[in-house]
Symmetry: C2
Subunit: 102 residues, 2 copies
DNA sequence: ACAATAGGCAACTGTTCACTTGCATATCAA
DNA sequence: TTGATATGCAAGTGAACAGTTGCCTATTGT
């Protein structure tokens, strides 16, 4: 399991979450394709290097997996790490706030 | 819906996640009770003010709700905002466990 | 009233983070 | 090979963030 810290830190940035949205919509995009979509669809004026760094963070968190083909590197979304978020707090939720006095 | 940015930023800090764990285990704790548990159970040498600021961030994200009684302020966990995380990216994914919540 | 308890506000500090800039590497087409 | 494409690495900058420190307000018990 990828460390929880990497996962939550990766999700903390809005640009990275938009990248995840893009990869959810179309899997297997290259770095340049993601750059294009961010600037076209989302009006994000951001450099290629910045996107590359974001993808590295997402990959370290296990949210993005890559495969290399020649000079192209394709990126795919992996939602598996997201499940531990729900499992951490939603399971123990008995939904009844109990009253306590110190 | 609480802005997604507040939610993910709130979850980005390990101390705040530990506070959520504590509130999941025992609901309705006061600031001082949370401080005690963080230092006792988790060996977190952290000031009361720091915990107070963390709680404010968690409350802004909708993850913690508070009620005041005299000089006490009780904190309760609210896991509802966490569901939008799953709903954002896990919707098209069929490989995981079914969600049983209505 | 007085002191102790529970919490709040604001300024300051050191660190982390996102982004840029510049250069380098690797693959492919002519 | 030459040039164009696609990506990688690393140092530097400005802003955001976590935590501390100091002081203040409100409530409660004696």
């Amino acid at each position: 399991m990828v460390v929880a810290d990497d996962l939550f830190k990766a999700l903390a940035d809005p640009t990275r979450r938009t990248i995840l949205d893009e990869l959810a919509e179309k899997s297997g995009q290259t770095l340049f394709e993601i750059c294009s979509r961010l600037s076209m669809k989302h009006q994000l004026g951001i450099s290629r290097q910045a996107v590359s760094q974001h993808l590295a963070v997402l990959e370290a968190a296990g949210l993005v997996e890559t495969r290399r083909e020649g000079r192209y590197k394709f990126h795919e979304l992996n939602t598996a790490p997201l499940r531990q978020i729900a499992e951490r707090w939603l399971v123990a939720d008995t939904s009844g706030p109990e009253k306590s006095t110190p």
